[in-house]
């Protein structure tokens, strides 16, 4: 059976723009959630977000910036980091065995927002001719394929909050089953626009701003939790067939060993214990591991009342009612990156093995008696032997995706 190595990582995130800074900030437990800086802030009821410190002019010539939505800009920079981090070289004969699998929820949200604004509000009869190619959901993946001459499958997965977990899981299978040797996989999302923030606000899933400290607004598994904070960013990994990676002496961050995906077929937003626990079981089965082999779970942990309760119950069904495995929600700090969330959180989990440290769930001050796992409250833990990790992603629509990685 072919095995799959993670040999490179790249990140643009609210908690840092390199994997090192990202993890250091996660362990420090200080959230990146702030009052938003957009000029439309007064029109919002929820005025907080986790913005990435990302200035495209530092990465692209001014003439290229206008041809790429922010979603693609971030994806390209994260892919570039991952590519150079892996030190990979793709020979001409290998290009068709190398692919791109990316996830995004909404695609070019900022371009959609400005285009609709000019058409409906300003009554402009003509829109920018690049609108379509900036907005389309597969723009990030396609630009990565163009950039690195990757001529195998170039696919985009849009499964709301599970988009990039699915992208990585499917990429893992593509290599495992012999259809590719290298896949650039991950996710990207940048929808901190007025229209999308209003939409999320209206759905009632965004956290209320904390009276004392806006940074402490997202409180997963806490009694006073009120939802998530929208984030933005991109996270990309290089997946490579294990023997290929070993033969070239690549640094192997982790081996991906399991992926489980299920659909609740229950409700468009409400999760189910059955769907989530089945996805975790499928991932364990594929990894040929027992529940007790898992050393850390990076939870979906959105801090909505429903998610945290259902995810806790699902974990208990798989890992036992007395489960003491550390489970943390790093969304408490970097916000919810929607289409990039699964990839960013898998990276957080892989880095916890590399750094022998587990990032905390921030802002967990008032335990909820119904959420009684070890959520690593408020303080990161260092000096731990973390060898196998699980990352959960559960999407609106009822799709669940779970990934397992281990040290090699």
């Amino acid at each position: 059976m072919r095995r799959v190595a993670v040999t490179g990582m790249g990140i643009i995130s609210p908690m840092g723009n390199t994997s090192y800074n990202f993890f250091e900030n996660l362990i420090s437990g200080v959230p990146a959630v702030k009052r938003i800086t957009g000029t439309f802030a007064p029109l919002l009821n929820v005025k907080i977000a986790a913005e990435a410190d990302f200035d495209p002019t530092e990465h692209f010539p001014i003439k290229q910036i206008r041809t790429l939505d922010r979603t693609t800009q971030m994806a390209l920079v994260a892919a570039k980091q991952a590519w150079s981090d892996s030190g990979i070289v793709i020979g001409d004969d290998e290009q068709k065995r190398a692919g791109v699998y990316m996830g995004t929820g909404l695609g070019g949200a900022q371009t959609i927002d400005s285009m609709l604004c000019s058409v409906y509000k300003d009554n402009v009869s003509r829109v920018n001719p690049l609108s379509v190619v900036k907005i389309m959901c597969n723009a990030p993946a396609s630009h990565i394929s163009l950039q690195y001459a990757l001529r195998g499958p170039c696919l985009t997965f849009s499964i709301a909050c599970a988009s990039s977990a699915v992208a990585i899981g499917e990429a893992f299978r593509l290599i495992k089953f012999g259809q590719a040797d290298v896949v650039v996989a991950g996710g990207t999302e940048s929808m901190l626009t007025l229209s999308s923030m209003k939409s999320w606000e209206s759905l009632g899933v965004l956290a209320r701003e904390d009276d004392q400290n806006p940074a402490a607004s997202c409180k997963p598994f806490s009694m006073d939790r009120s939802g998530f904070v929208l984030g933005e960013g991109a996270a990309v990994i290089i997946l490579e067939e294990m023997e290929r990676a070993r033969a070239r002496g690549a640094r192997i961050y982790a081996e991906l060993t399991g992926y489980g995906t299920t659909s609740d077929a229950h409700h468009i937003t409400a999760p189910t214990v059955e769907g989530q626990s089945s996805a975790m079981r499928l991932a364990l089965e594929e990894a040929r591991m027992n529940p007790q082999d898992i050393d850390y779970i990076n939870a979906h942990g959105t801090a909505t009342e429903m998610n945290d309760l259902v995810e806790t119950q699902a974990i208990k069904i798989v890992f036992g009612a007395d489960c003491r495995i550390p489970v943390s929600s790093t969304k408490s700090m970097h916000g919810h990156l929607i289409g990039a969330a699964g990839a960013l959180e898998l990276i957080a989990a892989i880095l916890s093995m590399q750094h022998k440290s587990i990032p905390p769930t921030a802002n967990l001050k008032t335990p909820d008696p119904q959420c009684d796992l070890d959520y690593v409250p408020n303080q990161g833990r260092v000096g731990l032997n973390v060898r196998v990790v699980m990352s959960n992603s559960f999407a609106f629509g009822g799709s669940n995706a779970v990934l397992i990685a281990r040290l090699v």
Partner: protein
């Protein structure tokens, strides 16, 4: 500002063209534009000069063709010559 200068400024702002190559007799094809670039170029010209360039009946080979088309359309569509315009003297 002359029509040429305004075209030059627009091209430099939006495309990677060498400034010293933007001359009236430069063949547009020499910039290596693809079909999408050409659509964009026309879009930005329309924006800059507040005109509508019809898809048919326009043949743009060199920069001078762009100047001629724009100046003709401004008169046709606005009934006036370009304000503050000092026509470029073409060799």
């Amino acid at each position: 500002m002359s029509t040429l200068q305004r075209i030059k400024d627009m091209l430099l702002e939006n495309f990677d063209f060498p400034e010293d190559k933007i001359l009236p007799d430069t063949i547009i094809e020499s910039f290596g534009l693809d079909s999408v670039d050409m659509i964009e170029l026309i879009f930005y010209l329309e924006d800059e000069f507040e005109i509508k360039i019809p898809e048919r009946d326009v043949k743009l080979v060199c920069i001078q063709d762009i100047i001629d088309v724009i100046e003709r359309l401004i008169i046709e569509q606005h009934g006036t010559e370009i304000k503050n315009e000092q026509r470029e003297v073409i060799k």
